[in-house]
């Protein structure tokens, strides 16, 4: 999954709504200031780059994404790849929102 996918036009809820919700979830999970999360771009590294994002925090992140974005994340999706960058995670969230 590339960061470029994150810029594709979704057919579900607006990109900005998903983007805003995803940033809010990351702010809660990572205990960051709003301004820090606002500074995330498509290439910002997540899993493996941020010590706060351990396996338990990632599991919490997925559960929050399911709740707040009304999506279902399958076990097969939990492969860590889309967690490498913010762009990857956003593209994943957008694709799941379109699916549901």
């Amino acid at each position: 999954m590339t960061a470029g996918t994150a810029t594709a036009e979704p057919t579900g809820p607006s990109r900005s709504a998903i983007d805003t919700t995803l940033r809010a979830i990351l702010r809660d999970v990572l205990a960051l200031e709003e301004s820090q999360v606002e500074a995330f771009d498509a290439d910002t590294g997540l899993f493996g780059h941020l010590p706060e994002l351990d396996s338990m925090a990632v599991a919490g992140l997925f559960t929050e994404m399911e709740d707040r974005l009304d999506i279902v994340i399958d076990d097969d999706d939990v492969d860590g790849e889309m967690l490498e960058t913010y762009g990857g995670l956003l593209a994943f969230a957008e694709a799941k929102t379109v699916e549901s």
């Binding site: 702010r27 809660d28 999970v29 990572l30 205990a31 010590p51 706060e52 994002l53 351990d54 396996s55 338990m56 925090a57 990632v58 599991a59 919490g60 997925f62 559960t63 929050e64 076990d75 097969d76 939990v78 492969d79 860590g80």
Partner: protein, 218 residues
């Protein structure tokens, strides 16, 4: 205890033999450590506001020496009811999954209660991610299926088959006596989501204020 026998556990209390006596039930498993300080600080504010507060260790949790793998939701429910009777609790506050074991006949509050299946799913996912990092391919579904048969360790917690089956099968049974407290009412971001335990004085104050007000003390 699973055998039906009883055992003593530690109980943190602020007891001045006052009229309003609150039993506080911490979240279970990983969220317990994230929320402990926050809840204890909330109990301190409640104490200063005229409320006696008691927070028991459930068997297998916190300081308890009982094996975690031998515990069950039904056992913890019985223990919470015994603790309520022991301290003459007039009200109960269940925090997150603590609400799952709160005595349903006591009036009180459920602070952002969580479904048992969601608790289990989060732990199993964490274990799946952890296993993958160790180059072991196993899914959360497989872990839960294995746990239902033989018990399983999830995110460092050894679960017996009884507890996994209870978590997998239980729906959130909310008591009509427990009023919901949402994170929106408290304000700020949920501390149980954070990787490290945190403390937010404003949230502690907000939670205590809701309880004090509804007890008619403010």
């Amino acid at each position: 205890m699973p055998s039906g026998a009883t055992a003593d556990e530690v109980l943190l209390g602020f007891d001045l033999k006052r009229e309003h006596r609150l039993l506080v039930l911490m979240p279970l498993f990983n969220e317990a450590s994230k929320m402990r300080r926050q809840i204890v600080e909330t109990m301190r504010i409640l104490d200063q506001s005229g409320v006696d507060c008691f927070c028991p260790d459930l068997a297998g949790c916190n300081e308890s020496l009982a094996p975690h793998s031998e515990q069950s939701l039904s056992g913890w429910r019985g223990a919470a009811a015994s603790a309520a009777a022991h301290v003459w609790a007039t009200h109960v506050l269940g925090v997150r999954s603590g609400s799952l074991v709160a005595p349903g006949d006591l009036p009180g509050w459920a602070y952002e209660p969580v479904k048992p299946s969601a608790v289990l799913s989060r732990l199993a996912r964490a274990e799946q991610i952890f296993a993958r990092e160790a180059n072991q391919a196993v899914t959360a579904k497989e872990l839960i299926a294995e746990g239902c048969e033989n018990g399983v360790t999830l995110a460092g917690w050894p679960f017996g088959a009884d507890l996994i089956n209870e978590l997998a099968a239980s729906e959130l049974a909310s008591s009509p006596h427990h009023r919901l407290i949402t994170q929106e009412e408290i304000g700020g971001s949920p501390l149980w989501l954070r990787a490290e335990p945190g403390f937010d004085p404003a949230q502690a104050k907000a939670l205590a204020a809701i309880i004090v007000e509804r007890m008619g003390l403010s």
